[in-house]
Symmetry: C2
């Protein structure tokens, strides 16, 4: 007989894309599922990484028992260094997932303190009041698992990220039977991946890219360069196999792709045909029609291998007119312009570019489409359903995919966003008080460099119309200020017009000063505000722009 309530608290990834993290709480025990990061929105100027701020977990630090990971993508593990640096915890995951975490912790010199617990699909682990079973699912990264978490109030199934691939490249099938088994016994709550809920039908199998790559390699006279996510181990396996079939050697460009493939190979997840590897420094001395290059940089990241190849500044690869560059990855929304700019540069090198949707496809998604999501809903037939992993439109579409179940098992679907809290007790599930959530914005790859909201807001203002700073020196004895004040400005206006307006601006400030009483000039706050208002009015009238105006008074 349960004596406490169960709480499901999304700390990231619901109503937003990325930084997936969910807390399960039963009484005084908290279990964390995943701790991801996200790439910042355009408006977060100068910020490199965004992670949940985990303040709920830190405020309840004595109750947090462990982190359980579903798979090794950055939006599921990338926030771990920031969480573990503040709150050391046991971390459960498959060996490949934990190796990817280790790589991230290494970057922050945090590996030694890590408390890793390796698990395999089929294992059951008890963590406080939670009994967690790991279930194999198919996804674009190997060793991905869903979680069946038995609690005193019933079973919760968390799918992690998945698609239902009928023919996975590693031949390890999606464990439909386990989902069916739990569904038959009765599931209290399903938390299921909504990423592709707005796509009709089924996602194609990872294997369906093979005919396209065969066609491209059959057609290509020169080098073929393929860009894919470094974590797409299955995709790389397919490329190795097709390259072998067409007697091409394979070179890997990019630090990240080399690291991940080494890890995958170490775990027996990547079979490398004998003698197929080509060192990057040997690319240009090998007959082009015998070369396939796998390069990182699918999102047009400026320092990536492909971005450098595109502008002809990579030391190991120069593209020629017979070469072909294949973009085998999705475009993350917001990156379109940068990616297309890179493709244009590649096209200027004379190389043929292959990208976009086509049939057979050059890329398939790792997330299930509408009919796969319905399949899981029908197998699990939960009492309650919470769509996870997606922006509101995707959560809402996923909710509507479950509507046919309301005739039978499904009592209610809840659309939660990050920070919302779902409570379950003997009577059922209902919304409870939200918990405090937030984001930390990190300027570079360290765990310390947090950029505050205020700073980001200033940067946004500065990026629009720049700044104008009038500097006034006032004699602290007489209250006099001699001559015209200095005015410093950047990002506002330039050229001859600019010079003439800035000259007038100095006069405007001088007029404000001479029109102010000694009393006003004695009060720094008052005179600063008078100058700010007058100067801003003048500048807006002259230019229709609204720079940041920040008067500085120096007393001497």
């Amino acid at each position: 007989m349960p004596d406490a309530k169960l709480q499901v608290i999304p700390l990231g990834g619901l109503g937003e894309f990325g930084m997936n993290c969910t807390a399960l709480r039963y009484g005084d025990d908290i279990l964390v599922i995943d701790a991801g990061m996200m790439f910042p929105e355009d408006e977060m100027f100068g910020v490199d990484i965004v992670a949940p701020d985990f303040k709920y977990l830190l405020a309840n630090r004595e109750h947090v028992r462990a982190v359980v990971l579903t798979h090794g993508h950055e939006d599921h593990i990338g926030g771990l260094p920031f969480l573990l640096s503040k709150l050391p915890l046991p971390v459960y995951g498959t060996p490949f997932t934990l190796s990817l975490v280790e790589r991230r912790l290494d970057e922050h010199e945090m590996t030694e303190e890590a408390d890793f617990h390796e698990v395999s699909a089929g294992d059951i682990v008890e963590i406080g009041p939670f009994k967690v079973e790991f279930i194999h699912v198919t996804h674009s990264i190997p060793s991905a698992v869903a979680l069946a978490i038995t609690t005193p109030l019933g079973v919760i199934i968390h799918t992690g990220d998945f698609k239902v691939d009928p023919t996975p490249p590693d031949r390890i099938p999606f464990d439909l039977h386990k989902f069916a088994e739990y569904g038959k016994k009765g599931v209290l709550l399903l938390l299921s991946d909504s990423t592709n809920s707005d796509r009709p039908g089924f996602s194609e199998s990872e294997l369906s890219v093979i005919p396209r790559f065969e066609e491209l390699l059959h057609r290509a006279d020169g080098r073929v360069v393929v860009s894919c996510f470094s974590s797409s181990v299955h995709r790389v396996q397919i490329l190795l196999n097709v390259a072998a079939e067409f007697r091409r050697k394979v070179a890997f460009l990019g630090r990240s792709v080399n690291q991940v493939l080494e890890i995958a190979h170490g775990h027996g997840l990547l079979e490398i045909p004998d003698g197929i590897l080509l060192r990057p420094q040997d690319i240009m001395t090998t007959e082009p029609s015998r070369v396939l290059v796998v390069a990182s940089g699918t999102q047009g990241e400026p320092m990536s291998a492909l971005a450098r190849v595109a502008v002809d500044s990579h030391k190991h690869l120069k593209l020629g007119g017979d070469d072909m560059v294949v973009m085998s990855a999705r475009i993350i929304p917001g990156n379109e312009k940068g990616i297309f700019r890179m493709i244009n540069h590649i096209s200027r090198r004379g190389a043929q570019t292959v990208y976009g949707s086509m049939s057979p496809p050059v890329h398939v998604s790792g997330h299930g489409s509408a009919e796969e999501l319905r399949l899981i809903l029908n197998l699990v037939r939960p009492r309650y359903f919470v769509p996870i992993h997606g922006e509101h439109r995707q959560l809402s579409q996923h909710a509507s995919l479950a509507s046919h179940l309301s005739d039978s098992s499904l009592e209610r679907t809840f659309i939660l966003e990050t920070g919302d809290c779902l409570e379950v007790d003997e009577r059922g599930a209902y919304r409870a008080e939200p918990v405090p959530v937030g984001r930390i914005c990190i300027d570079s790859g360290t765990v310390d460099e947090v950029v505050e909201e205020l700073v980001i807001r200033d940067r946004r203002n500065l990026s629009e119309d720049g700044f104008v700073i009038p500097i006034i020196a006032i004699d602290h004895l007489s209250g006099h200020s001699d001559g015209l004040p200095e005015v410093v400005s950047r990002g506002f206006i330039s050229g001859e017009d600019g010079a003439s307006i800035m000259k007038e601006a100095r006069q405007v400030v001088a007029n404000t000063l001479s029109g102010s009483t000694a009393e006003e000039k004695g009060d720094l706050g008052v005179i600063q505000e008078k100058i700010r208002v007058d100067l801003r009015r003048f500048l807006t009238k002259k230019t229709s722009r609204r720079p940041l105006v920040l008067p500085v008074i120096l007393e001497f």
Copy 2:
């Protein structure tokens, strides 16, 4: 016998998306084809509109005879106010196109000076040495034309924007016969639209959206809100017809959509079924299942009707749980995040959202895909070919679509980018010296407000790490500076850490000063640079950030 050379000079739109403008020059006569604008890239902080700077035309102002317009989209006419304000010219176009230009000139109070010449498809106009025939083409806006320009050296065909729609909604067929006729007689040069050259097959007819809208209106219980481009007159006609079929009234929200539809109706290009119009103020008092709303704001523009509806701040429309919002337009690259943010807000209102690719489609492109482009190439079978309207990857794909013609008529394809110059004389066509080109960046909708490159670069720097300005007052007699210097900063760092670092920064500047000789302090440039270098090193070491550091020295 021609005695001069012919030059083809793209001034915008080749190797970039938007602001299409091409100059044709024969001897001392220049004809301008289109004068468009583009929306700025993300990196052009605070800029609203970008247009070609037209410096080549202004430098040759006495030779420029006229502007000929192919159709009324902003990327073909939006730069006209800026061109005409500097260089008044006769403007040729179809009546609907000219009315759209008039609307833009009105905004700048420039209509009175306009020298408009209305033409219809089939008309031939002589402008200097150029004989221009206007040829009807199908596109997503009515009254679009291609140009067949007979010059002393041969015929140039400029397609404008087009698709080959077999069943156009206005039943005016694409004039294939005219293209065939010119092709039979022999065409010197084809300039053809490359926008969709990277899409295989044929673009679907505009009519193919009808079954989708019928399905949606059949299924919808509440209001249906459709967002499409305000210039998509055909799409609006289809919506009016389908609404009439399902006995819904139609309301239009958005200034731009109302203006354009009024103009289209005035030209007889839009048939409005009797009694179908609903005033915006009557939307909420009409039975929801009898209402269809056409709203502007397909790109998530913050002040658009749909953006305001999404955040529940539109005075005439509040969405409810039975309502449906349909995005019937393409996403312009770079706008994805803003559009999805708006759709998420609509989803939070409880409304169902319909967007993305599906079959039958909810949107079709107005540009021809690969097979339509091949059809035009085969009909025209030019001696030379220049792909226009597109980024490099699209121009390059279009060039490869013409490769089969090199066995017969096609001597050469030139991939030109904006500013390149193609010269043709008796011997043939070849690349000539590029001409000066550039962009003007306009902060708001006036013709004067030009933002310079330097200012935009400063804004970019400011947006990344903000600024730090140390201000040092030096006694011009003694060279002394008393106390700690002031340091002003924004967008850099805040909070307690920030305060402590800024305090240290003041000490760093003071140390630099005290460590400098009187001679150094006497030379403003030297002391400024010393302070800049020392302070920047300190700040980067402390924070890994690189703010703009701008020392100001005041002498008193």
